[in-house]
């Protein structure tokens, strides 16, 4: 076999990957120990300095209650990231259950689950969210549930495909030929290898979840005030965009930055791990 192997171009130049890492690091820090990055409370009002444009004192400016937007953004990281991770985790728990059952439990079950997934797919994610919210009322938990459930079918489908693919792999047969039990084979070979490429997918998912959750907040269906979850900030900033642009633009930029960073990291990971599962 003599063919030229050309290494695949990694997405985003290396610089990008580094920057992404920095952004993510910052956000994680903000989520874990916001106090390190900003002093002062995100809800501290100052009616004397409302709607101030960005300055040294207030890098992101202030809102109409005189709250420092930067402080709010930093403190908002916890919820936003929390939703992103929580939703993705929830989605994966559901998806792994469905995906593996479908792939391993035989034709009938598979057919059934695949149908269910199809129905779920035909169901606009946002409507699902709207319904969930109509039932539970807007809150952090609801946002997580809504986004999580909404994105689960996609992953489930992916995992199913992945499991079916890995099941064909030579090392599965090899393990069986060594006399290992089916369960052992699943636990030691099938599961870890099927899930491997999904690590990257999950990372991508976090980015998307953050965006989706903020979309809910943007529709006024998100986390309750005075939370400064980023989507909520955008919602609040919307009215001001023509008069105090920073209130809408800066949080938006933050969301986009984080989303890109997480996404590009995910893609880099994807290229590293090889399995570009879709």
């Amino acid at each position: 076999m003599s063919t030229l192997t050309v290494t695949r171009a990694v997405h985003l130049p290396k610089v990008g990957t580094v920057l992404s890492l920095l952004v993510v690091a910052f956000v994680v820090a903000a989520a874990l120990v916001p106090g390190l990055l900003v002093d002062g409370s995100p809800t501290a009002i100052d009616l004397k300095s409302t709607l101030e444009a960005p300055s040294w004192a207030h890098p992101f400016g202030t809102d109409d209650a005189g709250r420092d937007l930067f402080t709010r953004v930093v403190h908002g990281a916890r919820e936003s990231l929390g939703i992103g991770l929580g939703a993705t985790a929830l989605a994966f728990v559901i998806a792994i259950g469905l995906g593996f059952t479908a792939a391993l439990a035989g034709r009938v079950v598979d057919a059934a689950i695949t149908r269910v997934l199809e129905v779920a797919f035909a169901f606009p994610a946002l409507l699902l969210a709207l319904l969930v919210i109509a039932v539970r009322g807007p809150s952090l938990a609801t946002s997580i549930a809504a986004v999580g459930i909404g994105s689960a079918p996609g992953y489930a489908r992916m995992i199913r495909g992945q499991v079916l693919a890995v099941r064909q792999a030579g090392f599965i047969e090899a393990a069986a030929a060594l006399g290992h039990g089916w369960f052992t084979v699943i636990r030691r070979h099938l599961f870890p290898n099927a899930m491997r490429p999904l690590v990257a997918v999950a990372t991508l998912g976090v980015g998307q979840s953050i965006v989706w959750a903020s979309a809910l907040s943007f529709l006024g269906l998100g986390v309750a005030p005075p939370s400064s979850e980023w989507g909520a900030l955008l919602d609040a900033g919307r009215l001001h965009i023509t008069t105090s642009w920073w209130l809408e633009i800066l949080p938006g930029v933050v969301i986009v930055l984080v989303a890109i960073s997480v996404t590009s990291l995910g893609r880099t990971l994807q290229n590293r791990l090889g399995g570009a599962a879709r």
Partner: protein
């Protein structure tokens, strides 16, 4: 820029082998810091075939691609001169190159399945060079494509032209690929491993095809790793190794009176009837091996009337294995040879009891084996090991060599009682297969093909089985590596008295290793007997056909 004459070189100066068509002097190619081709020179003459032979990484393919200006991204090419029919290829613009490719130089890659665009009709693929070089109009090209397909011996060419590559058999695909390469009857035809992955019979046909166009005066550069294939076609042979031509001369001389050790080694490594009972690897070509004893008592593994029927998506049943029976005795090697689709691998998987036979059964030491329930069979599995064609895919990509081997040990007759014991025994196994304890930590991904297969063998040995099923264990390996692995297998057999059920499409290999042989075709056993019987006095016509198709060095 130099203007390049697009017109094919006139027939007149083609037929005679005297004038050179292509002249390459001191060609160097490097990717970044690493030099892949280190200053080689050769010439190609009309009606002659130059074979460039070498193992993987020898730089032969890069050389081939360089001759059509497609060395690849990031490559640095330098040479004193590369002339094609008097035109300087060294300083040729991309634009001019396009004029040459397909018109002056035809190129045939290996494995037409991936070398033809799956989504387009075979006809269009064949006609593409015509289109690109503005030959005739649509209709004319379509007609020509059919004509070309016919000329390379594709049956019912009109139909084939309308089909797509995946609808054709490997042989037909390869012919189509060649047809498109010779569409504009280029004076120079470069064939890069044109017959790899083809069955011997088909391989023979394809080689004949190339021979034919050589007769017509085309100059052929044949790239191959297989000396015996080369022997069939080449007038001149250049043996490459690590980017250098180590030996270059008339085919007869190089193949029968090699000057260079490497060439000798390569030649010696080719398994065939001559090499039975000898070591293939190492310099000494004929070291007689002490044949071990085959105990003809009760067979270790016995297959009785195995039949396997698969139901296709179109609800049509296909009998893949049809009434196959055999006995495998202790310390013996039973070879199953056959072309793709002959059912040999399926037979192997049934023997392994990984696949359930539709009817018939397999006995292990006279006891039920295939008939057992999965749970009852599991404890017995330690007695039957397996080595696959592609070791890499048979390893969990996340596992280290050490883990792979120790895991296998744990399933064996004497599971190690402690971590240290496991480790020690793993090291011993690795050493037994010619590796070292140093390999324990490394991942199979970072091993060479040969090393991987050794690990696979170590894993198979770990449970101390009495039978090892080897399914095409050396097909993916370079000839020298193949030699080493084959030797290893035989050595181990002498040492441990383990029996092999040895599956291969390569008659040379089969002949080399087997005591007794089954020849399979379309799921049935068409002939069986001792190696000598089958190869010296073949009874079945198919066997004879196979034997004649096998490329032999002798033929050059």
């Amino acid at each position: 820029m130099t203007t390049v004459d697009d017109r094919p070189v006139g027939r007149a100066d083609r037929v005679s082998g005297t004038t050179e068509l292509l002249r390459v002097e001191n060609l160097r190619v490097s990717f970044g810091a690493t030099e892949v081709v280190g200053g080689i020179s050769f010439t190609a003459r009309p009606g002659q075939c130059l074979a460039i032979v070498g193992e993987s990484g020898s730089g032969k393919s890069v050389t081939a691609r360089t001759l059509v200006g497609l060395t690849g991204p990031g490559a640095r090419v330098s040479a004193d001169r590369i002339d094609l029919a008097g035109a300087d290829l060294l300083h040729t613009t991309e634009r001019a190159w396009r004029g040459l490719r397909g018109r002056q130089i035809g190129f045939v890659l290996q494995d037409a399945l991936v070398s033809l665009d799956q989504l387009r009709r075979v006809g269009d693929e064949v006609a593409e060079p015509l289109k690109l070089h503005r030959w005739g109009n649509r209709a004319a090209r379509a007609a020509k494509a059919v004509e070309l397909l016919a000329s390379v011996g594709v049956p019912e060419p009109e139909v084939r032209a309308q089909q797509r590559p995946y609808e054709l058999s490997g042989g037909l695909r390869q012919r189509a690929l060649i047809a498109s390469a010779i569409a504009l009857d280029p004076p120079l035809l470069i064939a890069d491993e044109p017959t790899t992955a083809l069955d011997v019979t088909v391989q023979a046909q394809v080689l004949d095809l190339l021979a034919a166009s050589k007769e017509r005066g085309t100059s052929i550069i044949l790239i191959s790793h297989d000396l015996s294939v080369v022997a069939r076609l080449a007038d001149e042979v250049a043996v490459m190794r690590d980017g250098h031509i180590v030996e270059h001369g008339p085919a007869g001389q190089v193949l029968h009176d090699p000057r260079h050790d490497y060439t000798r080694m390569l030649l010696a490594a080719i398994p065939s009837e001559h090499t039975r009972g000898t070591r293939l690897s190492g310099t000494a070509t004929t070291v007689q091996r002490a044949r071990r004893q085959v105990d003809r008592g009760r067979p270790v593994l016995e297959a009785r009337h195995l039949t396997k029927v698969f139901r296709g998506p179109d609800k049509v049943d296909r009998t893949v294995v049809d009434d196959v029976s055999f006995e495998l005795f202790g310390g013996e090697t039973l070879g199953i040879v056959g072309e793709s689709g002959s059912g040999k691998t399926t037979t192997a998987r049934i023997a392994l009891a990984i696949l359930e036979a539709t009817s018939g059964e397999v006995l292990l030491r006279g006891e039920p084996w295939s008939a057992l329930s999965t749970d009852r069979r599991r404890p017995l599995r330690k007695q039957v090991g397996v080595v696959y064609q592609d070791p890499l895919s048979s390893f969990d990509p996340r596992w280290s060599v050490g883990r792979i081997v120790t895991d296998a040990l744990a399933t064996g007759r004497r599971p190690p009682s402690s971590k240290t014991e496991a480790r020690d025994r793993a090291v011993r196994l690795l050493e037994q297969v010619g590796l070292t304890g140093a390999h324990l930590a490394s991942s199979p991904l970072r091993l060479s093909g040969g090393q991987r297969q050794r690990v696979a063998i170590a894993r198979a040995l770990a449970p101390e089985p009495s039978v090892i099923v080897c399914d095409e264990p050396v097909s993916a390996l370079d000839v020298s590596i193949q030699a080493q692995v084959l030797d290893l297998l035989t050595d181990l057999q002498d040492e441990l008295g383990v029996s092999y059920l040895f599956i291969s499409h390569d008659l040379g290999v089969i002949h080399h290793v087997s005591d007794r042989i089954l020849v399979m075709k379309d799921g049935r056993v068409v002939e069986h007997g001792t190696a000598t019987e089958v190869f010296e006095r073949p009874r079945h016509p198919y066997t004879r056909q196979l034997l004649t198709a096998v490329p032999r060095l002798g033929s050059a």
